[in-house]
Symmetry: C2
Subunit: 186 residues, 2 copies
């Protein structure tokens, strides 16, 4: 998917590329949907586990939120197809439920706990976690999802590590100073 | 597209729905791509013109940015397919150039002038306009683009006017207080 910049890949494409025959791929994953789900769980599953760990860490909520946002952007950077894939999967009701249960809900839940911890500690202003979820996910994703726009409207052909870092820093500046309470004037 | 929640519509679907024959539709727009471009220009063109007007208004930059963000969200609210359609159009190099020239570049340019005016007046902190463009567009879009997620992960079946208003207010709070200089402590 990364190679071709599309999620429109067939089981036989995957078989050919992996050197396996498509019956074997089908045997392992059941169907193309089964394979997509395994892929998304593999790509995002570790991130989700690390996020659980984040909540338990001895860090202030601002640092936790920074790590959380960096982790999301890094996933998009490494797997630019992943958001498109998730939206594609949500178009199938059954797959959508699976993705919601294993990916979207745990991610939203971690974010909610992180925000509420920060709000309780007086570090963050009150903010609706659901709204924040869509703001953050949309902002994290857009640079990657909008690569055509990056190229056509801004003349930038590729997202390199430097751009990723600048984007992360800008996003964190905009978002964080927006929700951190008790900031000094100026 | 709104009716079917998909951008996968053929010229003959449009002809059937509009009661015209598809030869006539083809005569007017040249091709499906010609029709899509006319649609996007019609939906977004007026918004772009109003945005030009915004720059000339006797308003402070914060109020201008509020109107700008509200206008973007209103477009997504009224035409939920429009962002998906634009991304689809960017996959065709020629169409992509047209969309970049008529939509993305003027929008990014208006935003840049608006930000730079505010920065020059000391109302906004310095912020990279390109980064800000992707942050804002992604955040505005995600609630609408992620309607499947809204349904599956948050149990909300529809974006009504109340949700749209709350989302706009939260996004503006998060973004604005993040970039407005000289805010009072607390």
């Amino acid at each position: 998917m990364t190679e071709r910049s599309t999620i429109d890949i067939s089981l036989s494409d995957i078989a050919r590329k992996s050197g396996l025959n498509s019956a074997l791929v089908k045997y392992y994953f059941g169907s193309k949907n089964g394979l997509l789900l395994a892929l998304v769980k593999d790509v995002l599953g570790k991130g989700i586990q690390q996020m659980d760990g984040l909540l338990e860490m001895e860090l202030n909520p601002v640092e936790k939120l920074k790590l959380h946002v960096k982790a999301i952007i890094n996933v998009y950077f490494r797997f630019p197809y992943v958001n498109r894939l998730i939206h594609y999967m949500f178009e199938d009701p059954e797959l959508g439920r699976e993705v919601a249960e294993t990916i979207s809900k745990p991610l939203a839940e971690t974010q909610r706990l992180l925000l509420e911890d920060g709000i309780a500690k007086g570090v963050f202003k009150p903010v609706d976690p659901m709204m924040f979820y869509f703001i953050i996910l949309g902002a994290c994703d857009q640079l990657f999802f909008g690569q055509h726009i990056l190229r056509s409207a801004f003349g930038i052909a590729e997202i390199d590590d430097n751009l990723r870092r600048r984007y992360t820093a800008t996003l964190l500046d905009v978002i964080l100073i927006g929700i951190v309470a008790d900031k000094p004037a100026g």
